[in-house]
């Protein structure tokens, strides 16, 4: 269990702890893969060569062997988000009944862009009458938050935040604020990015990499379970060292400082995408807390630290035991 330091919280605000984490993306499915596997980019043909893009391979059975049949109808964004959230819930040792009052806060920069593109292509190909209704249902950026809520019966606040590269950092901040202000005892919080080949191509054509310090978006989702510390302790979650992390929010009503891009690595703040890849890289290189993701608001670092601490502890994310490095 990792406590998020709430530097700007009121003294009486309950502490917020991270009790579970999960991820999937270009590195594969699960925290084990995040921590130990190198992303295997798909090389898309573009003018003048190929473009390496980190795309999720769609494999989920290793993390979720008994995934429900209905998992199949979701778009990639929802599948990735639910897969990561599910791992976080399992890792936290929680069941559906524990999440009835839980909130869901999700951040995404690109949201449903890939799904919108797919539906639009279907619309042109088959006409308005026969364009896929199932796909249309997922042409909203809040669909992943909705699917997570449905899957766990989470009836607390349900928010989706898109704030550019700060989207997922903002989601984590908002999630912690919901708990600290008493609006939800637990929150499933995280981010996702679904990047289709056509979206990658367009970003490439528009010069994304050159404008973002060489970073290029990749597919990934990462979620954590945030929880009121007293609830976590009451259900027997072992306590863990407090990380020296600030969380930029003010439950008394002041507008929190918006996480700002460090400029040279704007993509690094996209918690659900390239930052997740950076986490894995940083872990492998033994410099988890700095590398390219240091220097800004600390939510991403908080989560990174939480994942590392959870991975190094015997519980609650047992699957990643032994994964702590650096």
């Amino acid at each position: 269990m990792i406590r998020l330091g709430t530097q700007h919280a009121a003294p009486t605000a309950p502490a917020v702890v991270v009790t579970g984490a999960g991820a999937c993306g270009a590195f594969g499915a699960g925290l084990d893969r995040l921590l130990h596997a190198d992303p295997r980019p798909v090389r898309l043909p573009v003018a003048g060569g190929t473009l390496p893009v980190g795309l999720w391979d769609g494999e989920f059975r290793s993390v979720w062997p008994d995934a429900p049949d209905r998992f199949g109808r979701m778009d990639r964004a929802c599948r990735m988000a639910l897969l990561a959230a599910r791992e976080a819930v399992v890792g936290a040792g929680l069941g559906t009944g524990d999440l009835a009052s839980a909130g869901v806060v999700v951040g995404s920069r690109f949201g449903c862009l890939a799904t919108n593109g797919a539906w639009h292509a279907d619309l042109w190909e088959r006409g308005a009458r026969l364009a896929a209704p199932l796909l249309f249902g997922y042409t909203v950026a809040s669909a992943p938050a909705g699917e997570i809520s449905v899957a766990y019966g989470a009836r607390g606040p349900n928010l989706t935040i898109s704030a550019g590269d700060a989207s997922s950092a903002a989601a984590l901040r908002e999630a912690a604020r919901l708990i600290a202000s008493g609006r939800a005892p637990r929150v499933l919080a995280g981010g996702y990015e679904a990047i289709s080949p056509s979206v990658a191509q367009e970003l490439h054509d528009r010069g994304w990499r050159g404008r973002h310090g060489g970073a290029f978006p990749a597919e990934a989702a990462a979620f954590v379970v945030l929880e009121r510390e007293d609830l976590a302790l009451a259900r027997g979650v072992p306590s863990a060292p407090v990380l020296g992390i600030e969380l930029s929010f003010d439950p008394d009503g002041g507008e929190p400082a918006r996480p700002t891009s460090p400029g040279a690595n704007a993509g690094g703040w996209t918690f659900g995408a390239s930052t997740v890849l950076e986490w894995g890289k940083a872990f492998r290189e033994g410099k988890a807390a700095d590398a390219r993701i240091a220097g800004g608001p600390h939510v991403v670092r908080a989560t990174l630290g939480a994942v590392r601490e959870l991975a190094g502890a015997s519980a609650p994310v047992g699957r990643a035991a032994g994964g702590a490095r650096g």
Partner: protein, 91 residues
């Protein structure tokens, strides 16, 4: 015209493909099992119904423009196969 048994099998394949029922073997779907309803049969919902109506029109050329017609036709694989057979003059 295809026999009703052939139609049932085609409907089952259509259900799995059109609704992305991953891990579901078409042959495992019961002829008379309810398609809709929580905890029943395939457990499909209203969004699936829209997709199914599009799939029927796309594959068999039979539009389903009335929800009452859809409710009757979508009760089970057998009902849907018989509905398609009734609205297909020759195949």
């Amino acid at each position: 015209m295809a026999g009703i048994e052939d139609l049932r099998n085609e409907v089952k394949r259509m259900l799995v493909e059109a609704l992305n029922l991953e891990g579901v073997d078409p042959a495992s779907i019961g002829d008379g099992a309810p398609l809709f309803g929580e905890g029943e049969g395939l457990g499909l919902d209203s969004l699936d119904a829209l997709q199914l109506a599009v799939a029927v029109e796309d594959r068999f050329g039979i539009p389903i423009g009335d929800s009452d017609v859809g409710k009757e036709a979508f009760r089970s694989v057998d009902d849907l196969a018989r509905f398609i057979a009734r609205h297909t003059p020759e195949r």
